[in-house]
Symmetry: C2
């Protein structure tokens, strides 16, 4: 069973020129089959509130701050704060997640599978079953 964890991605640059962060096979826990990004979210709003049955994801805050609350079997509910573009949060299959956006926050998600509505569980109560 894999639990959620924070990790750092390789970053190249300097303050005078900006920072480039790389995610590829050698630095990610899975092959990326989908990417999505969320922008222009009113500050303080919470998105997510679902469990993915099989999808693995990595989240980054490319701008601003994200507070990501994760709960999954074997892992007590915990809120991770992302505020650096090189910092990544791995969210395993079977995790309930809620994402609170700070002002101007930009979320990037890299995911292990393409979109599949059947992979979602949208009721928190069902979280107890996730990962079985």
């Amino acid at each position: 069973m894999t639990l959620p964890y924070l990790f750092s991605l390789p970053t190249h640059g300097a303050a005078a020129e900006g920072w480039l962060t790389v995610a590829e096979a050698t630095t990610l826990p899975f092959a990326v089959r989908r990417a999505y990004w969320i922008t222009d979210v009113p500050a303080g709003q919470v998105r997510g509130r679902h469990t993915h049955r099989t999808l693995e994801q990595v989240f980054m805050a490319l701008s601003g701050t994200l507070r990501i609350t994760v709960e999954c079997p074997g892992f007590a509910r915990h809120t991770f704060e992302l505020s650096q573009a090189s910092q990544a949060l791995y969210v395993p299959a079977g995790s309930w997640r809620e994402v609170q956006f700070g002002a101007g926050a930009v979320l990037l998600c890299l995911a292990s599978q393409e979109y599949d509505e059947a992979d979602y569980e949208r009721e928190p109560a069902s979280n107890a079953r996730a990962g079985q």
Copy 2:
């Protein structure tokens, strides 16, 4: 021969909740093997200034404005402006590119191959050979 082009990625949302833009096999011209993002670039600075021999890339501005100048065989030098997170620029193999960052701009690149230093040509003069 494929030339550079702008395209729109599917976007879901509303002004009250923010916008989610998706990139996956059905919406991209290649399978993604590498992602990178560039942040905290001083306004007006230009990055890039190289040709990739075989790499295909898609660029998005997740925040702020990017002005991306592209030149490749069969395509006159042209500057594309990206300022919406759902707008993407496809840059084919063999293209010279220069990227000017506006204030607070965040660049996301999805690429067809993992990093390979041998794929770079860093001299503009060599651009005439690219794609042959």
